[in-house]
Symmetry: C2
Subunit: 430 residues, 2 copies
C-alpha cells in the first residue's frame, strides 16, 4: 500500500525523512565489470564492441554492421505509422521552437579601466546520445536529447541504441530521422559508452555523452567523465502533485498513474491540503489502474513507492516539495502562478488543472529529461546550454595592464608564483 | 628538452598526435581507498573525519575543532599583510563585478497556442568549496570559487581546506573573509568530500562541491557525483601561446614560464608562424628561468612538457589550437580580435601582447577555474551558471491542452504508456 502521512501527526518528521531517504533503485555494484568492458573496447575496438553487443543483446552484429545504413533508417522510418510520424514531427517542431529561445548570446564589453572582458559561446562539436533498448526505448526521448544538440549547433550526433535480439522500434529511427540524427549504431551498455568516449575504427569519438541507461550505462558514464562530458546520472522518474480543494481527484489520480506506469522505481506523491481529496484519489487509483492494458506495473509502482501526504496549508506543501526536490511538480491548485514562485527545487513545474505532466513528456515544448532523485537541488533539465560551452575573453592594452599590475603582482608574490608576477612586470617599463 | 615540431615536417601529424595524447599526470588508482574512506565517514561521521585528517595531514584536530572559529578567522585575516589584503579586495571587487553580468534571467512566455512556457532560475542552497593545502593553496582560488556562488545567491558556502601539520596560510582565511565565506573546516582529502556530500554532526551536507584537489579528492568527487553536483575534475594547468612576428620573445617566454612554474604536469606550448621567434623564445626561457627564486619547478615543467610548434600560417596555428583545446590560449599576434573568432575550443582567450595569462589568474575579473586536459571541447570555466539551476515551467488552459492532446496521446500510445495518454484524455470532455 502507498504511504499515507499527515503533517500534523507527531511522528511526521521522522516518517517524512524515511520517505526522503528511501531507495527506489537496486544499487547494483557494476563498477568493476564496467572497468573491464571499457578497457576491452579501448584495446580491441569494434571487435570488442561487436562481441559484447552479441553477448548482452543477442543482436547478431559484426564489426561491419554496427552502424545502421541510410537505407535501413529510411525503411524503418517509412514503416512507422504515419499518424505517429506526424505526431513526432509536431512534437519536434514545438520542442525545437522552445529550445531556440535557450540559445545563449555572447557578451563582450569594456569595463571602466579599459579592460576587455567577456563570454563567447560555442557548440560542442560531437555528441553521443544513448537511447535505451527494450521497454524504455522511447522515440520522444530521442527528440528530447537530439533537438537541443541540433539547436546548439552540434555538428555530429552519434546515437547508440541497443537492439535486443536484433530488434528495434521503427519509431525510434523515425524520431532520429525527424531530429536530423543520421549516425546511428546498434550498440548498448557500457561498451557503447566506451566506444563513444574513446572511439573505434568505425565509431569516431565524441566530446560529450547524454541520455539515460541501466546501471552499466550509468557506471560507464561515471568512469568516462573527464575524457568526455556527461549529463546527469538519471534515476527513476517521479512526480509530486500539490493539490487543494479545487483539484479533480480523477485527474490527479490519472497523473499519479502516468508516473507509476514507468515502473523501475518510479514514484508518485500527492500532497494535499484537502483530506477528502486524499480519499477520493485513493479510490480513483484503484478504479483507473484496473482500466490500463499494462496495469501490473502501475499498480506495483503505486503500492511500493506511492505516497499521500496531508498538510494543513499550501505553505507546508511547498516546504515539503522543496525538501523532496522532485523531477516533476504539478500545481493542481486554484492559483498555481501564485504558488510557483515558492517552489525552489524542481525539475519542472506544471501549472494548474489542465497541465498533466504527460503533456511535458511529449509536445509541451520543454524538455522531458529532468533531474531525478532529489538532484533538482543542484541540477537542471537538459537544454541547449548542455551542448555549448563558454570561453572567457580578456584583453588589456598598456594602460589597463598598468592599472591592474600592482595588485596582480602582489597576489602572485604572496602565492610564491614569482613567474606569474614577472610575466606582468616584464611588460611594464618600470 | 621541450619538444620542437614543424608543421611542414612529413611526420608532423604523428608527432602532434603523440603530443596530444601524452599523459601529464600519474593516474594513481585510488578508487578503492576512497570508497572505504567515504563509507567510514558515512558511518562514523566527525570521528572518522578527525581521525583521517590527523592521519593524512597531521593536523591535530578533534571532532570538536574541525571548524575554524570566527576568532581564528579574524586573527588570521588580521595577520595578513595589508598590501595583500588590499590586492585581494581589489581582485574580489573586479571578479564580483564581472560575474554579476553572468546572472541568468527568467523567461516565461505564451506561445501562439496559448501554452505558457519558460525557464526559472534559482540558486543552489548550499555549496562546498574545496581548497587544496600546501603548495597549491591559493587565496586567489578561494575568491574564484566563492564569488560566483555568492553572486548566484547561494546561502551557505562551506569551505574545506586541509592544514598540514596544523598550518594554514593566513591569506587563505583572509580571502575567505573577503569573499564572505564564514563556514571553514580544517579538513581535506576524500574525507572532506565525503563529509560535505553526506553531512556529519558538525558539518551539514551541501548540494554541490567545487574546487580542485589531488587524486583522492578527484576520485571522491567522482564517487559522490549524483548525491551532490560537482564541477569538473581538474587536471594540470596549461597555456598555448599563438605568436606571430610582432610578438616580444621575452614576454612570450615569461608567460610560458608562469605556466610551467605551477609544476605537477603543467604544460606550456608556443605555436608560432615566425621561426626566429621560436629560437629567441628558447634563449629567453633559459635566461629568465635562472632568475626565478624557485627555478627548478619551472625548468622541469618546461623541459618535460614544453613544446614549440612552428607553423606556416595563423590558420594552421588555429587548427592546432582547436585540437589541443587548451585551458588558456594567448593570442600574441598583430590582430588578436580577428583571430579570436576562429578559436573554438579554449577555456579562456587572452587578447594581444599586453594580456599575460597571469592577469586573468588574479585581477582581470574573469574566472581562473577553467577546463584542462582538452576538456574545453565540452566544458566551461567556473561561473555563476554553476551555482544556479533551471526549473522549466509549463502551463495549459483547456484550449491549449485540447490543441496539444491528439499528438501527445498518439505518442503515448506508440510508447505503450497508456496511462500517459489517459491523463490527457480524461481532461477533455470527449
Amino acid at each position: 500500500m502507498p504511504i499515507r502521512l499527515n503533517a500534523t501527526q507527531p511522528d511526521f518528521e521522522q516518517q517524512f525523512v524515511a520517505l526522503l531517504g528511501s531507495k527506489r533503485e537496486s544499487s547494483q555494484e557494476v563498477g568493476d565489470i564496467v572497468t573491464t568492458i571499457i578497457a576491452d573496447v579501448k584495446s580491441r575496438g569494434d571487435q570488442a564492441v561487436a562481441e559484447l553487443t552479441n553477448k548482452f543483446d543477442a543482436a547478431g552484429v559484426s564489426p561491419d554492421t554496427l552502424r545502421f545504413t541510410p537505407e535501413q533508417i529510411e525503411t524503418a522510418a517509412a514503416r512507422t505509422d504515419p499518424k505517429v510520424r506526424d505526431a513526432l514531427q509536431f512534437a519536434h517542431d514545438r520542442i525545437r521552437a522552445h529550445h531556440e529561445k535557450q540559445k545563449p548570446v555572447d557578451h563582450i564589453y569594456q569595463d571602466d579601466l579599459g579592460v576587455t572582458l567577456g563570454t563567447r559561446w560555442s557548440a560542442i562539436e560531437a555528441v553521443g546520445i544513448y537511447v535505451p533498448g527494450g521497454l524504455a526505448s522511447y522515440p520522444s526521448s530521442v527528440l528530447m536529447n537530439a533537438i537541443p544538440a541540433k539547436v546548439a549547433g552540434v555538428e555530429r550526433i552519434a546515437m547508440a541504441v541497443p537492439t535486443p535480439n536484433g530488434e528495434i522500434s521503427p519509431a525510434i529511427l523515425a524520431a532520429a530521422q525527424i531530429a536530423g540524427v543520421s549516425e546511428i549504431y546498434r550498440i548498448g551498455g557500457a561498451q557503447a559508452i566506451a566506444a563513444l568516449a574513446f572511439g573505434t575504427n568505425c565509431i569516431a569519438r565524441v566530446d560529450k555523452i547524454v541520455g539515460p541507461g541501466n546501471a552499466f550505462v550509468a557506471a560507464a558514464k561515471r568512469q568516462v567523465f573527464g575524457t568526455v562530458g556527461i549529463d546527469m546520472i538519471a534515476g527513476p522518474s517521479e512526480v509530486l502533485v500539490i493539490a487543494d480543494h479545487t483539484a479533480n481527484p480523477a485527474w490527479v489520480a490519472a497523473d499519479l498513474i502516468a508516473q507509476a506506469e514507468h515502473g523501475g522505481g518510479a514514484q508518485s506523491i500527492l500532497v494535499t491540503t484537502h483530506p477528502p481529496l486524499a480519499d477520493a484519489v485513493m479510490a480513483e487509483m484503484g478504479r483507473q489502474i484496473a482500466l490500463l492494458p499494462r496495469q501490473s506495473i502501475a499498480r506495483e509502482g503505486w503500492e511500493d513507492f506511492g505516497a499521500i501526504l496531508t498538510v494543513p496549508t499550501l505553505g507546508v506543501a511547498v516546504q515539503l516539495a522543496n525538501r523532496i526536490a522532485s523531477e516533476h511538480v504539478e500545481l493542481a491548485v486554484e492559483n498555481p502562478k501564485a504558488l510557483m514562485g515558492d517552489i525552489r527545487h524542481a525539475g519542472a513545474i506544471f501549472l494548474g488543472h489542465h497541465t498533466p505532466e504527460a503533456i511535458g513528456d511529449y509536445v509541451g515544448g520543454s524538455n522531458h529529461v529532468l533531474p531525478t532523485a532529489r538532484s533538482a537541488r543542484f541540477a537542471s533539465g537538459l537544454g541547449v546550454l548542455d551542448f555549448v560551452k563558454r570561453t572567457s575573453v580578456l584583453g588589456c592594452d598598456p594602460g589597463s595592464l598598468a592599472a591592474l599590475a600592482d595588485a596582480a603582482v602582489t597576489i602572485a608574490e604572496a602565492e610564491q608564483l614569482d613567474g606569474h608576477g614577472r610575466s606582468i612586470s616584464i611588460r611594464l617599463n618600470r
